[in-house]
């Protein structure tokens, strides 16, 4: 019994190993470049309206931020883009963000994905690629 359950769990995990962005299916399923630009735009607007995290953007050039966000989303989704911003670690090092901040960002992004009309299952494929960034973004 014990061997069986452990084996079943390992198989379940192996079967669900995230496919890395060799293909652009997620990029296509999100709706391509236009929709990703909208997602970035809505997300940035949500950040500024969110009392939990808006102070983080007091000194941010939001126009540039939105473009970087869009490029990053596009790259993460496997699209034909290039992200020229700093690494997640460098960009967030001085901010002292905690998990509640990170999750606030996730909720704002989910709201943006809803607004852009991205189906929930597709949202989760996208979020699954972003989630490990928590390790670099959360520092306290």
């Amino acid at each position: 019994m014990r061997f069986f359950t452990v084996a079943a769990f390992v198989l379940a995990c192996a079967g669900a190993t995230p496919a890395f962005a060799d293909d652009d299916s997620l990029f296509q399923d999100l709706g391509g470049r236009d929709v990703i630009e909208k997602i970035a735009q809505y997300t940035a607007a949500n950040f500024l309206a969110d009392p939990r995290i808006k102070a983080t953007f007091d000194d941010t050039n939001m126009e540039r931020f939105e473009k970087l966000l869009s490029a990053q989303f596009c790259v993460v989704a496997g699209g034909p883009c290039e992200y020229k911003g700093r690494s997640m670690k460098d960009a967030h090092r001085a901010l002292g963000l905690d998990n509640a901040d990170f999750n606030a960002v996730v909720e704002d992004l989910q709201d943006a994905l809803d607004k852009a009309g991205v189906p929930f299952a597709t949202q989760n494929r996208f979020l699954a690629r972003l989630a490990p960034m928590q390790h670099d973004i959360v520092t306290k």
Binding site: R2, R125, L127
Partner: protein, 315 residues
């Protein structure tokens, strides 16, 4: 046979129901008060530790033993919405209506720094007409108190999407029942016992699927209501709990669970249990879980199935 007088079972039921209403009601009134708090004050600063910082549904619901989990299974997730810098508390009331019995549980739990979970639950298992058939008296009720401790050991079920490993937690539950005379009569060796378990839970986010596997060392008969150990076996055995839940929306999960149980008593065969559930998260303060549940044979009645309803309130 007639064992033990039927002492105040209605009173016990009433007490559990009143307690459940009081706890849930308290949460109802506390939640909006927190949300409407105006300028920061000492109270606000004190309440800041209740950060409600986890994502919706990632605190799970409360299982039959009062631990953070699904319904039958215990999960590795720490209950509530407190992050690693916060605290979350919740209360729950669960009703399980079976063909020939019903089970009610009320409990409270606290998750500290997303690391430690402490829980306490009071349960009542009502034998209804079966009590009369067994000579115990109609409505003869077994009661159980369960104190639980769970500690997250490593991994994160949500964030570690780039890794194969689940979040792993270990826990222990002390369970004590009344009705020692009946338990001894059916062959049970003790009215109390300790379960220990190891649980792994992982959200396969790209698949919108949450999977849990739990291994439990236990002597409990019918989750503990019929005592611990028996004439067939008085040792610990390894039992299995598993859940799989598909996330349909941020606030809705549908899934199924399976749980094996020991079979220690020769006069009362015990089967594995399973359920099919829907958990709806109104917000981070309230969730409602509805399930079809089948607990198999219980003493003299086979195929005990019915409805499982659980309300959780917290902040």
């Amino acid at each position: 046979m007639h064992i033990g007088p039927e002492i105040g079972t209605q009173g016990q039921h009433l007490r559990i129901s009143v307690l459940a209403l009081a706890i849930l009601g308290g949460a109802v009134f506390a939640a909006p008060a927190l949300a409407d708090a105006p300028a920061p004050s000492a109270l606000d600063n004190g309440m800041a530790m209740f950060d409600s910082g986890k994502l919706l549904a990632t605190g799970g619901v409360t299982n039959v033993e009062g631990a953070g989990g699904g319904g039958l299974a215990t999960w590795a997730l720490i209950t509530g919405y407190g992050t690693d810098n916060g605290v979350g508390v919740d209360a729950h009331y669960t009703y399980v209506g079976l063909s020939d019995y019903n089970l009610q549980t009320v409990g409270v739990a606290i998750g500290v720094m997303d690391r430690v979970e402490l829980s306490y639950a009071w349960s009542a298992f009502d034998t209804q007409q079966t009590g009369a058939a067994l000579g115990l008296g109609k409505g003869f009720t077994f009661h159980q108190n369960i104190a639980g401790l769970k500690v997250k050991l490593f991994g994160d079920a949500i964030y570690d999407q780039d890794a194969w490993w689940p979040q792993i937690s270990a826990g222990a539950q002390y369970k004590a029942t009344d009705r020692s005379a009946v338990i001894a009569f059916v062959g049970g060796k003790s009215h109390d016992g300790v379960d220990v378990y190891l649980t792994g839970t992982k959200l396969f986010l790209a698949q919108s699927l949450l999977v849990d596997i739990t291994l439990r060392e236990t002597k409990a008969n019918q989750l503990g209501f019929l005592g611990f150990g028996g004439d067939k076996s008085n040792g610990y055995s390894t039992q299995f709990e598993g859940s799989a839940a598909y996330l349909f929306r941020r606030n809705l999960a549908l899934g199924a669970e399976f749980r094996t149980k020991p079979d220690n008593l020769s006069i009362a065969k015990e089967d594995a249990a399973f359920d099919v559930f829907a958990a709806y998260f109104l917000n981070k303060n309230f969730s409602l879980t509805l399930a079809y549940v089948n607990l198999g044979n219980i003493v003299i009645h086979d195929n005990q199935q019915g409805v499982y309803a659980s309300l959780q309130a917290g902040f």
